[in-house]
């Protein structure tokens, strides 16, 4: 499969939420959850989005599916801006863009059997099948994700976390989408099961020619599974880097810090690791300048004055830093 033309183009996407508090619920601050985010995904590509809590990666996914409406910006799929589609057209567009969720333990209606949950995408779109046809289609979906028809009769609480996540993937695949947003699909699972799901997703991508947006907090997983990685911090993209370059050519100090702070399974001594100090600051009413300035080990006075813009690097990535590394 060739990775060529841009399939999805996200341009200047932003959304902010008002935070109200106090006795009279007055607006006390604004959180720019996603702030001027632009990137593209090629057909057949796996694009990773990585960042710590509050970086806006989950909000980004919801903006792209219009589960939350953006304030400004556009999301073009095959050249068509889906943020401008009518409700009815968006419903049809959603057949083609599906999401797999983080928490498999509550992703299925507890009162529905897996079969009924997997039938729902068809019902929502008014697609009618005979009983036998529907069973055949659902069983095919179950088989595709490594479950058996038997699992269709189960209720969610009867399945393990990994099996539930498989069922969620099967539901996402129901109407043959081309694009899946995977929102931390393995964060709630054990590592051995995580590996099962990652391998399943990889084989499904090859078989069905899918394109993925893979969201995770785990940089090692993202750099293993994805082709390119978008690193986010406080609602902004700080770096876009080819997955192969993550280990060797990170340009942004934050990316570098994430790499250093991921513990490998090679026994070592924590005292030798350079640890990023501080925590992600509270996201509302951020000062001007680079959002990472307060924690950056290489901070210079100019960093707090002007926010750096994303600029293309020599190796084809993009970085938003006044003083990039390497």
């Amino acid at each position: 499969m060739s990775i060529s033309k841009n399939y999805i183009e996200v341009k200047n996407l932003s959304v902010s939420f008002k935070v109200s508090g106090g006795l009279l619920l007055r607006t006390i601050g604004v959180v720019k959850a996603v702030n001027d985010v632009s990137f593209s995904i090629k057909k057949g590509e796996i694009l990773g989005v990585v960042g710590e809590s509050g970086c806006g990666k989950s909000t980004l996914a919801r903006l792209m599916l219009r589960l939350i409406e953006a304030n400004t910006g556009s999301v073009e799929v095959d050249g068509k801006n889906i943020l401008e589609l009518s409700k009815q057209k968006m419903k049809i567009q959603r057949d083609n863009m599906r999401m797999v969720f983080q928490d498999p333990y509550s992703v299925m209606d507890p009162r529905y059997t897996i079969f009924r949950s997997l039938s729902e995408p068809f019902e929502i779109r008014g697609i009618k099948h005979s009983r036998e046809e529907r069973h055949e289609i659902v069983n095919e979906l179950l088989e595709m994700v490594g479950l058996s028809p038997e699992h269709g009769f189960s209720y969610p609480h009867e399945l393990s976390g990994g099996q539930k996540q498989r069922a969620d993937i099967a539901r996402a695949l129901a109407l043959n989408p081309e694009f899946l947003i995977l929102d931390e699909p393995t964060a709630a699972l054990d590592v051995s099961v995580q590996a099962q799901i990652i391998n399943l997703l990889e084989s499904l991508r090859e078989k069905l020619n899918l394109t993925y947006l893979f969201i995770s907090h785990d940089l090692s997983l993202v750099s293993y599974f994805c082709d390119r990685v978008v690193v986010m911090y406080l609602g902004r993209i700080v770096e876009i880097i080819s997955a192969d370059n993550v280990g060797t050519q990170a340009h942004h100090p934050y990316t570098k810090a994430l790499i250093d702070n991921v513990f490998t399974t090679t026994p070592g001594n924590i005292a030798d690791i350079e640890i990023l100090e501080g925590e992600v600051p509270s996201p509302f009413n951020l000062p001007s300048g680079c959002g990472f300035a307060s924690r950056c080990p290489h901070v210079k006075p100019s960093c707090t004055e002007l926010a750096p813009q994303l600029e293309t690097t020599a190796d084809g990535g993009q970085v938003a830093c006044h003083f990039p590394l390497n």
Binding site: E52, S53, S160, G161, G162, Q163, D190, V191, S192, V193, Q194, A195, Q196, I198, N199, E202, H217, D218, L219, S220, L221, S223, Y224, F225, V246, G247, A257, L258, I259, N261, V262, F263, T264, T265, T266, P267, G268, N269, I270, A271, I273, I275, L276, E277, E279, V280
Partner: protein, 323 residues
């Protein structure tokens, strides 16, 4: 300092008896960090609760032996255990968000623990609390002292919980997934703090986690648990470089790392068996690629190898070095 032998916990549910953990044996020395690693259902948290003497509260029956500083903990009365808990062994739970009381200032929560176990004045306790907070690198400790839990970030809250845990100068800290709820960069800070604490105070740390990366960076010894048993126990470097149990090996193989070649991630197929349907022989036999008929029928013996690793496997002599 701590020696656990043949520990088992039994519960009776609906007239059926289940033993979620059994045959647990391991030991650790003063000032050492022992990592207990396992996936969901391995019984690692239950093991910690058993050592703390907390399982009887939920109706569990404990057998085996837990010797701590020469004292047999299982023969202690409920009241004796209460004074050992907190004073000599302290427990740091997984979720800092729920282990702090939201209506009290965090400083007072540290002071409360100090007053309960140490014979000091309130004023001295406050001074000690601020010292502890500074030792844990809490910036502006005196200001944070006055704050309520909801005003603090996750990392700061976990530091407060740790301050409560170490304030009484325990000889052993048991920490149950202390960094799971935190961001990676904050996790690194907390893990480093733990290491510093054990070195500076010569205190033992029993760290329960599912994260082999954390174990690799901080522990001296490791106990790998699977389905309620310890399958491998030994020195961290030996176990990680030359895992003897097929499960340990498989677990190490399914963790991705930066620079890993695409397509080389190996999963362990199947699921962890639940206590009500543990296999008769080796509990890993249903998923083990090296299984021999004997594994399905007989529970393997624990063997101490020349390298010091104790392994519970019929095929302990397999050569399974890491790639």
């Amino acid at each position: 300092m701590l020696k656990v032998s043949d520990l088992a916990v039994e519960f009776t549910v609906d007239k059926k008896t289940i033993r979620p953990i059994s045959g647990i044996s391991f030991e650790m020395q003063k000032g050492e960090v022992l990592g207990v690693v396992g996936e969901t259902g391995s019984g690692k948290s239950l093991t910690a609760h058993a050592i703390m003497g907390l399982t009887s509260l939920v109706g569990g029956k404990i057998s085996g032996q837990i010797v701590f500083e020469g004292k047999d903990l299982l023969s202690k009365s409920h009241k004796d255990m209460q004074s050992i808990r907190g004073a000599e062994i302290s427990f740091i739970p997984q979720n800092p968000m729920t282990s702090l009381d939201p209506v009290y200032r965090v400083g007072d929560q540290i002071v409360e623990g100090l007053l309960k176990h140490l014979k000091i004045t309130k004023w001295a306790a406050k001074k000690r609390a601020i010292e502890l907070m500074e030792q844990l690198r809490i910036p502006n400790a005196e200001r944070v002292f006055e704050q309520y839990p909801h005003q603090l970030s996750g990392g700061l809250k976990q530091r407060i919980v740790i301050a409560i845990g170490i304030g009484t100068e325990p000889k052993l800290i048991i920490a149950d997934e202390p960094t799971t709820a935190l961001d990676v960069t904050v996790q690194a800070q907390i893990i480093r703090l733990f290491k510093e604490l054990t070195v500076a105070n010569n205190v033992g740390l029993l760290l329960i986690t599912h994260d082999l990366g954390v174990i690799a960076q901080i522990c001296d010894k490791i106990a790998v648990m699977y389905a309620g048993n310890v399958v491998e126990h030994g020195d961290i470097k030996t176990v990680f470089s030359d895992p003897k149990h097929p499960y340990t090996r498989a677990l190490l193989d399914c963790i991705p790392y930066i620079g890993m070649k695409k397509g080389s991630l190996k999963a362990i197929e199947g699921n962890v068996p639940t206590p009500s349907n543990f296999p008769k022989g080796c509990r890993y036999s249903s998923r083990c690629p090296y299984v021999i008929p004997q594994c399905k029928t007989e529970f393997p013996e624990t063997i101490e190898l020349a390298c010091g690793t104790k392994v519970t496997c019929n095929k302990f002599d397999l050569n399974l070095p890491r790639h």
